[in-house]
Subunit: 329 residues, 2 copies
Amino acid sequence: MKKFLNSPESLLEESLTGFAKAHADIIQLNKQPYFIQRNSPTPADKVALISGGGSGHEPLHIGFVGTGLLDAACPGQIFTSPTPDQMLAAAQAVDNGGGVLFIVKNYAGDVMSFEMAAEMLNIPTATVLVSDDIALPKTHSIGRRGVAGTLIIEKIVGAAAEQGADLSTCQALGNKVNNVTASLGVALHSCTVPALGKPTFELTDTEMEMGVGIHGERGHDTLPLTSATEIVEQIARKIDEELKPQAGQNVLLHINGLGSTPLIELYLIYDLAAQFWEKRGVNITRSLVGNYTTSLDMAGCSITLTLLDEQLTALWDAPVHTAHLRWGC
Amino acid sequence: MKKFLNSPESLLEESLTGFAKAHADIIQLNKQPYFIQRNSPTPADKVALISGGGSGHEPLHIGFVGTGLLDAACPGQIFTSPTPDQMLAAAQAVDNGGGVLFIVKNYAGDVMSFEMAAEMLNIPTATVLVSDDIALPKTHSIGRRGVAGTLIIEKIVGAAAEQGADLSTCQALGNKVNNVTASLGVALHSCTVPALGKPTFELTDTEMEMGVGIHGERGHDTLPLTSATEIVEQIARKIDEELKPQAGQNVLLHINGLGSTPLIELYLIYDLAAQFWEKRGVNITRSLVGNYTTSLDMAGCSITLTLLDEQLTALWDAPVHTAHLRWGC
């Protein structure tokens, strides 16, 4: 294992300390327990948005705390759920009278921790479960996982909360976006978790892993590595079958790097995915390309599509000021 | 070699096409010859800023074209200088009566191409040579290379140009920033150039390469891999000896990922570098952490320090609206 590291045990604390120093204008770090909260004042009765999950996916979620997005993020150890005391403390810190909306990627540990926090709180709470990963069937016993579509849900709901939408409206909006968002990922090599010291799975030089999640788990199929055009076709076809965008439909196309895939390749993927939907008459009216929901140093990418209407487009465009997503303010 | 690729020959064109589609609100692509230019109108007599160089360093330079930064960028093939016809065509397209400033990373091929373009142009031109990489001695025959400090120079000069500074003022400002900026990089493993198909150099599991550039070239020393604290000390000490910041000096600290190093490690590096200068009474008043000047999928990072005064700080803070650097507008 080759990493910049003092020890696997101290990495999260040291890294969060660096993050808080680098972005002291936007966020602050609470250390006991860990959460990152926004600095900017929140309007009275604004719904507070809190997300969180295992670390190792940066900039998700800590990089998206700030005006127009999350009020707080609770980072667990690498690929490990945060504990309920983190969400409890974060909620008490950022609640401003409007209640708290938890945005939770659908993993058993995350769901349980957020649920326990909600039960302990004397504040109105609601939860949006993110399940955009179509690698698993809709009928899977634990349900589908939350992956790169999480940011899109957080951004859109964050804008609505900033504009004064109430708790049930924010929750309904989050569910709406989750229902029109689908993602699928592919890896060329796995990631190395510092505490483990070796890749979480092995692929030969001629293999790729289709349907990977973001925790170094295997996908649903180990397939022969093929051309970028063919890989994008395989992924885009499955997303298209899921969401069935009609000709004339406006969409947001998000190409997400999983960690060590260069931007020059991500923009190639973007072009090929754009061609896929352009041929079908779908209008790609918004886009996002880069490393937003990563899996440490995994080589690979995911494609996410969200069906847009006027409301979702306007909320996507609304001002946002965080460490790693910023426009309009 | 495992990459998302149709062919090494078509990668640049396909990727630029994707980039132009994804960011059609900010930039446009000219294909014969290749350059990216900003969409937003430029004030009359504004100095036009043009940079360029080999591809494979994205988001540098194409991701930094837009309001408050570059007017155009000329991408060569991967790690290959652009040709003079690109800068010639870009200059003719974006000149707005104020002349053209070329910001050129100091590599023989880039310097020659930009010089030839300048000679062919009937427009006043000036050049800033970027040489922030202290891996080579100041007395090196070709001079020091331009690396991650390039973005800092481009951002500061871009703000001045947007505010109406004339050509000689912009050139002097660029030289001023270059003189107070120093960078040094370290790699844990090299990158794989698509046309080559294998890493450009090999390191064992216990080695690191100190003083790497951004083209997959070896550095000045192959050293034993050590703790993050010790690596940062080694780098920061050399930068400190070069720039000699005094206690009370304001600085910009930039931790740049070379491609496949996760953000969680880059923020650890940031914290350690910040501690190094904080101990010496230096004020880190601005920061930038992330993958800005990459070397394809190289694992590694560089540390860049720029000494700030009030003028440079205000220009750094000025609004910028590009694909990969955006604030204040």
